[in-house]
Symmetry: C2
Subunit: 346 residues, 2 copies
């Protein structure tokens, strides 16, 4: 009974979308409870059907919860981990959806009791608008969901989070927190900064009013990320500063190369566009293997959800998930998962 | 009879979309003829219903056409203008859909006979994929369509192109060719280069295979323009070199500012994200006035199309269109339209 409760802390776009997906399941054996510092947000989520119950305190939210999901900007997760440390049920599993993973893993180890199990998470999904109103149950469908277990998390905890991620329709990907942050800086945090820089550049230019008349779908798409939640964006830059600064330097170099090619003109410019079109089309048509394998061996999300609180071991699911890192040997994988003592030096 | 023919030269994404929109009109009094250097493209367009007739030569395409639409990359338009110069019917109206406008206006003045009338055009619309297969009749719905008449084009010719643009469901915008190219460099050509630079940077980096696994909708959106037609992109850079180089320099500065803000951290970073979110949301919710006015004064696209070849003067439509430049006085507008001799110095 006490175990059959999922708590969502933070009911913005991501938290409410999770709630909608969880609550919408036909045969469910759990209750979804939600809380938000801005109580209007949580009430909106409740009204949308994302929560069974909206509560006004962390105590009420976490009480009796077998799975606690932190769906807040990463800097807000630090005090939350401090506070819930003393409130968690023994054996409770804690996960998050924050954009950076190294810092939150450190905080979890520092602030959570030995009896709690932290398994970090990051769904690679989003939307132009933020807040519960923009949420939808299928936001995570087919999205990659990075999973970074704490070295202290037991296998059951990892299975619970895997089952949860599968039940969202997402595709789990085990990854080392430091690697996650480095790659996310390239494919997610730098694109955000490019969106912001492009919008600011045109908006602050003399001809903005005329230029805006000509702005079409290209400009709109390229600046979409600039409409994201400012606190979340600030927190990303605070917790992934070095990687982000590295990639800003790299894109500056890349732009200088493009600049030189255009100054020279001729074939090199055409070659640049040709090879990039080819490579991107290949990437879009054949994205790297991360799809759920089909066939009888793949456990269904229904199974995963049904067993979410039974403590079953989803070996098959883990086999399936681990295929994306199949080229690495076991020791490497274990190191990546932070499963051996010598593997983590911070 | 002879006037009731529209020729589309180039049946890629844009040419075929125009054909689909024209051919789909219920009561039409014109024939749509198309040609493409790659004849398979034109045959595909014909098969899709975008053309009444597919022809194998420029002569056949242009013969008897009252309106000729050049839907090719801008550098390909130069030899085309040279060739069709001697083939055009007296009084024929020529327009284009190229991404830059200053060079093509110059070529039209140089190569077209006095009896032909060139009115440049540029629809601010596109798609990730190129080629006729990606075309659709509603590609231009509500898109801004820049119109840059040649100083030599008569009022009737401008009306014909206005009617054509209106019939596509697009919103015409008069603009000076040099201004067009400067602003388009900021809101369209630089975004294309950012897409290319971002994709190349990640693709060529050591961790590409791992980074690609984490690439979500943000990376996909930000790199969309890198999948555009390479020849079109190259031609843009060749015909708008100085403006593009200017804006590359500006975005480099902007990125350095962002870099410094992140190095310093704290409030300035949050302020940057907050003000940009606010400004972009304002832009998206209240885009600059360029909507067709509603009510009895606005001529319908049906009317415009019906009168396309009757030579009627669409005063009301022009009134409506000119409202977007209402803040400028008449002389300024005439200068912008290249309607007085002293207004153009090249």
């Amino acid at each position: 009974m006490a175990q059959s409760r999922i708590a969502i802390i933070g009911t913005g776009l991501i938290g409410t979308s999770i709630g909608l997906s969880l609550s919408g399941r036909k045969e469910r054996n759990f209750e979804v409870v939600g809380a938000d510092r801005d109580r209007a947000n949580a009430r909106a989520a409740k009204k949308m059907g994302a929560l069974d119950r909206e509560v006004g305190s962390l105590e009420e939210a976490v009480e009796g919860a077998g799975l606690v999901i932190l769906a807040v900007p990463v800097m807000a997760a630090k005090p939350l981990l401090q506070e819930i440390g003393k409130l968690l049920e023994p054996g409770a599993v804690v996960t998050d959806v924050c954009s950076t993973k190294a810092d939150i893993l450190r905080w979890a180890e520092e602030f959570l009791p030995e009896t709690a199990h932290f398994v970090g998470g990051h769904p690679m999904a989003g939307r132009e608008k933020s807040g519960p109103e923009a949420a939808s149950a299928d936001l995570f469908k087919d999205a990659t969901w990075a999973i970074t277990p704490s070295p202290r998390a037991d296998e059951r905890a990892v299975d619970v989070v895997l089952g949860f991620v599968e039940s969202m329709g997402a595709v789990p990907l085990y990854i080392d927190p430091a690697e996650h942050d480095q790659y996310a800086a390239a494919v997610s945090h730098l694109p955000l900064l490019l969106s912001v820089a492009l919008f600011r550049m045109v908006r602050d230019s003399h001809g903005w009013e005329d230029a805006a008349l000509l702005a079409g779908p290209g400009f709109r798409d390229l600046t979409r990320l600039a409409s994201g939640d400012p606190t979340m964006s600030r927190d990303i830059m605070m917790t992934n500063r070095d990687a982000v600064l590295h990639w800003i330097g790299r894109i500056q170099q890349e732009l200088s190369t493009v600049q030189k090619a255009i100054e020279l003109g001729g074939e090199p410019v055409l070659d640049l566009f040709r090879s990039t079109q080819l490579d991107r089309d290949t990437f879009i048509m054949n994205p790297p293997t991360r799809r759920r394998p089909e066939g009888p061996e793949a456990p269904s999300a229904q199974d995963a959800m049904a067993r979410l609180f039974v403590g079953g071991l989803y070996d098959k699911m883990k086999d399936a998930t681990n295929r994306v890192t199949a080229s690495r040997d076991d020791a490497e994988l274990r190191r990546k998962l932070g499963m051996t003592d010598e593997s983590r030096d911070r």
